[in-house]
Symmetry: C2
Subunit: 206 residues, 2 copies
DNA sequence: GGGCTAACTGACGCATCAGTCAAACCTTTG
DNA sequence: CAAAGGTTTGACTGATGCGTCAGTTAGCCC
């Protein structure tokens, strides 16, 4: 409903992908547990039977939709980041791409919040979640290491620790934006993260 | 099921409180949307009719249960913090009390995750959420100001900013603990937060 | 054309729950 | 004691939605 690409899929076997695409957007809009198979079918212009034809049960559609969304987002980020060679700029670019503005990125953050709530309660969601989360942390860590090689980041910083902190800080700030905490806007969030990067990785003294 | 006080309520009109107590624990265990009126009644040793006698609808029970939990946790924290007079120690005590160990505190964190997921989707949850979140941030901010008055914290730090950062960092770290991100344990979380406090508020240079 | 299969449909069966209600129960007051 | 009013019960209802399945259509090979 928001900004997801809804262009006609070329042939038949990405019907599956169409279903997943509709599903993750519905999750982002209405929440994990408010999504009905009938809603998915309606958005896809198909029947509930078809959804069950491709996925054994509702849980499977939902779980795969989460993965699908996170995967696409990661791929998109990666490809855009590759174009930026300076590590400092690349990190700032990453931060910028992750700001939960309205639209696509905000919906993706909504997915993460749903994912967290679900993974807390249902341990079977954790392995997949942790894989994706680790991949994200690793992206950050690599940029830090790259920056140290390039000499734009302090050599003394521990990339692992910095990644842990920066991801935590990003998540926490995103929560405040998404839940509408007064005083936490997109701008505040960017400032907060940029400052953090500067203090941890750029500033001269320790 | 975990550690909530389940002692016999003295008379009749805290039957309401008993229901809320059972409800928030069920939310923490099973998730917001998996809680059934019948479950609440069963835990309370009463009937579904009684639950509806005290609360007009399911939504009311759930929403009030969230508030109830957050309120109790806040009161408990406040009373324990009051005993610590040195601001630095008080902040460390706060951090310690908020580590999501198993049991009560972990359940309370689970409630926050559910709250966030819900507030993201349903704007009507935001006002209450933001009120509680603001109260928490204010607690942190006041401790920082207190520390500056006492001279144990750097005067240059902006209490508002520090509170924003520390709460975000805490939330982010808690998510990683609750979702079981490898490498993020209670110990790591404490270390991360204590380091942050030291760097932002205690270390000499800026 | 005639068999075969894969893709798709949508009505139906069945389970699950929120909320209702009339009756039962208990407590208080006159 | 009796009436009144507050509280509790649990069977019931109506709605909702998942998953199934018998049936349909479309493509494909012989």
């Amino acid at each position: 409903m928001t900004t997801g690409a809804k262009a006609e899929p070329r042939s038949d076997e990405d019907r599956r992908a169409r279903i997943l695409d509709a599903t993750w957007q519905l999750i982002a809009e209405r929440g994990f547990h408010a999504v009905r198979i009938a809603d998915i079918a309606k958005v896809c212009g198909t029947s509930t039977g078809t959804v069950h034809y491709y996925f054994p049960g509702k849980n499977d559609v939902l779980a795969e939709a989460l993965k699908y969304c996170v995967d696409r987002a990661f791929a998109r980020q990666s490809s855009q980041l590759r174009a930026v060679h300076n590590a400092h700029e690349r990190l700032l670019k990453l931060i910028d791409m992750q700001l939960p503005r309205v639209g696509q990125v905000r919906d993706e953050w909504a997915i993460w919040l749903q994912y967290w709530a679900e993974a807390t309660i249902r341990p079977e969601f954790r392995p997949a979640h942790n894989e994706y989360y680790a991949r994200w942390q690793e992206t950050v860590r690599r940029i830090v290491q790259r920056g140290q090689r390039q000499g734009v980041f302090r050599a003394a910083a521990d990339p692992h620790i910095v990644a842990l902190r920066l991801t935590a800080l990003t998540d926490g700030a995103a929560i405040q934006v998404l839940t509408g905490v007064p005083g936490m806007t997109i701008g505040t969030m960017r400032e907060l993260l940029v400052d953090f990067v500067h203090q941890e990785l750029v500033a001269d003294v320790s």
